[in-house]
Symmetry: C2
Subunit: 428 residues, 2 copies
């Protein structure tokens, strides 16, 4: 992974090279804490050990008995779904990948109606085995398979904790089952049993993926000027402290759209606490030049834009044309056009004094994606250390979970009563 | 459209009922300006007349000769694509809808390889007829059809300006061609010849869609307390002025994902100027409760969350289960679960003093979607009037377009030289 901070300096908000030099002492301390956390496999830090602790053979074995499926359906939510979606989209796949990570009945129905259920592998992911959305969806999927005359026990793979509902279900029906990794929050679990089975089913080379992650791990060091992940995390932190409350992540690659969504979860849930934390905004180049760029250049000076691209990509030539004013396009290629747009946008942000950071990988392949995911995770942990927040918890989501459960008759929760007290000012 | 501002009041940032009352005098002035602009069909304001000025018969006629296509492909970018995508996704369709709104060669190639080209209608949309991304993609699509032995002139529909490349091409090959509406910026063009042909091809009832929009137009009045669109626009403006720089739009419906993207363009490009403007963030309920909610509740007090849902939706029952701790789900339904999550999230935001606004339509059907799109457009125009910005221009995107064109050898542009001056601080 390559991180270029050149355009992050001396813009608005203003971050100077001298400030980065001073911050580097704190990065050294953060690196020490991270290294210690990894050494003890402490909660959260254990995620940064995954390239060495995950067992790709076990993952390959868990999917080996599904013969030639046409599709794989991930049933999970949040960190239990976004990693798989990111890998499947970025690495392409020999089979179609679908997700049920929401409980919208219209969507669930239309997806189940269109899926080739007899040729679909269902991967159910829930650490606790009780996640309401995931289990409700699983119950619906299982019934749909029953109705279609498909034996769901032949088509289901489970990733869950050591005990709980899903574990017992797997034991009872002899389903292939993988353990969620110990000490790894969902949003840091892409390089584990949570998401790798989908990559394996799609034909991705898990060893290369992990090698990419390991290469990025090897680049971690006590200076942000030597470690791309820390360079990114520290610059984001320093810019947020100076007023860049928004981080717009804009990959120039369609296959990284889910990556931007995965990043948004990583950043928001890890760093959004104690009244601090940068708000991730998802964008896509070149498309969002025609949507968000006006705001980034001319709106409030509260943004960092993160531009992501591969250094090499496949190409498609643009046919010659006699259409007026388009001769400059004809005979060129889509990659040349997209890269020109990338560089033009980067320069246009710099000209408007909007801080921006360029992140590149060589290619969007197993190695590049391994580097990118690991790099962003390490960047996030570094930011969390510098900000002094509890990177690996998400206490603020519990209130709503209890309220929803109470509303559904799943127990007595005071939060459910608060729902009834909603204040109204209705305009219709 | 129903707008409930109850939870927008007395949170952090703090907006009081008294402040809304005072603002209402300015809303009356804004409404007068909007009414005058509509009366004269001034640039931009003309968009709010579309329910009366668009000709649904002409649109139906333009697609009548394509017999029974399996798919429609929109080739456009920004406002020339997002409206069609929003309508196709929200209203479902009798045929598959695809978009080429980016020039990523890997994506273009894989899409063209998978499309049934002989049964696909291509809708090319560009006001100028020279939009680089759109025309490059069109040239590639046309060649792919040629190669597949498909006569592209039988399968292509054009929406463009009165003259220019695309118009001449349509004339030369006798393609069905529609005029872009006069005085309507792309991001305000969903209810026009730009997006309605796709809805018509998909079997949507254009009359109902326009009736929904007209109903929302009829609700515009001189008081935010009587006009849902102004209630939303004015509250967003007032909250932004008080520090809510981010507006997280979170529909509780998978079929409104593109709506959130369409909204993001509308908001960012219209209001992001003169160093002001709220940054739109796209989220999706219930999924993003497991991703962004931690940040919204516990992060910086710089956010408004806009919750959107239909009051009625189709349903899917959740099968009974003997899995431990899940009996409260079994026998319920996905809609009940999703609505409980909606209300729990709304209350959890209120409990955390994060301002939030509830927007509802009766159903996600033609009428509801017409109300919603028109309502958000009128809200945006109202916000722009209150903020005193030029809602209908997007000057900040021109710099990058000139730079990209210069880089590609399409002329001599000083902006292209600035690209070469990029400052570097590379960490690898």
């Amino acid at each position: 992974m390559y991180v270029d901070l050149g355009n992050a300096l001396d813009a608005e908000p203003r971050l100077t090279r001298e400030a980065l030099d001073r911050l580097d002492e704190r990065v050294a301390d953060a690196h020490d804490r991270i290294a210690r956390g990894r050494e003890h496999a402490d909660h959260g830090y254990a995620a940064l050990n995954l390239p060495d602790t995950v067992d790709p053979d076990a993952i390959r074995a868990s999917v080996a008995d599904f013969d030639d499926p046409a599709a794989v359906l991930t049933v999970g939510i949040g960190g239990s779904a976004l990693g798989a979606a990111t890998l499947a989209e970025a690495l392409g796949a020999d089979l179609a990948h679908y997700i049920l990570d929401n409980v919208d009945p219209a969507h669930v129905r239309s997806l189940l109606d269109s899926l080739p259920l007899a040729d679909t592998v269902v991967h159910v992911v829930s650490r606790s085995g009780t996640t309401a959305e995931t289990l409700a969806n699983f119950l619906v999927v299982r019934e749909a398979m029953d109705r279609a005359g498909v034996d769901w026990t032949d088509r289901t793979l489970v990733t869950t904790g050591e005990d709980g509902n899903l574990r017992r279900l797997a034991d009872r029906h002899d389903l292939p089952a993988l353990d969620v990794p110990a000490g790894v929050p969902g949003r840091f679990s892409a390089l584990s049993t949570v998401a790798l089975p989908v990559a394996a089913l799609g034909g991705a080379d898990l060893d290369e993926l992990l090698a990419g992650a390991r290469a990025e791990a090897d680049r971690l060091s006590g200076s942000l000027f030597d470690a791309p992940a820390y360079a990114y995390g520290a610059a984001c932190y320093a810019l947020e402290r100076r007023g860049a409350g928004v981080n717009a992540v804009m990959p120039y690659a369609e296959s990284l759209e889910f990556f931007a969504e995965w990043f948004a979860q990583l950043w928001a849930e890890s760093l959004g606490k104690d009244a601090v934390g940068q708000t991730p905004a998802r964008a896509l180049g070149a498309t969002d030049q025609h949507s968000q760029l006006q705001l980034y250049r001319a709106g409030p000076r509260d943004k960092l834009v993160t531009l992501v691209r591969p250094r090499e990509r496949p190409d498609v030539p643009i046919p010659e044309t006699d259409l007026d004013g388009l001769s400059y396009l004809g005979g060129g290629s889509l990659a040349a056009l997209l890269d020109a747009e990338f560089e033009a946008t980067e320069a246009s942000l710099a000209a408007a004094r909007c801080p921006n950071i360029r992140i590149e990988v060589d290619r969007i392949d197993e190695r590049g994606v391994g580097e990118l995911l690991y790099g962003m995770e390490a960047a996030c942990v570094c930011y969390g250390e510098l900000a002094g927040v509890e990177t690996f918890t998400q206490p603020a989501v519990e209130w709503g979970k209890r309220a929803a459960r109470g509303l559904l008759g799943g127990g007595d929760f005071p939060e459910a009563e608060a729902v009834g007290e909603k204040r109204r000012l209705l305009v219709e």
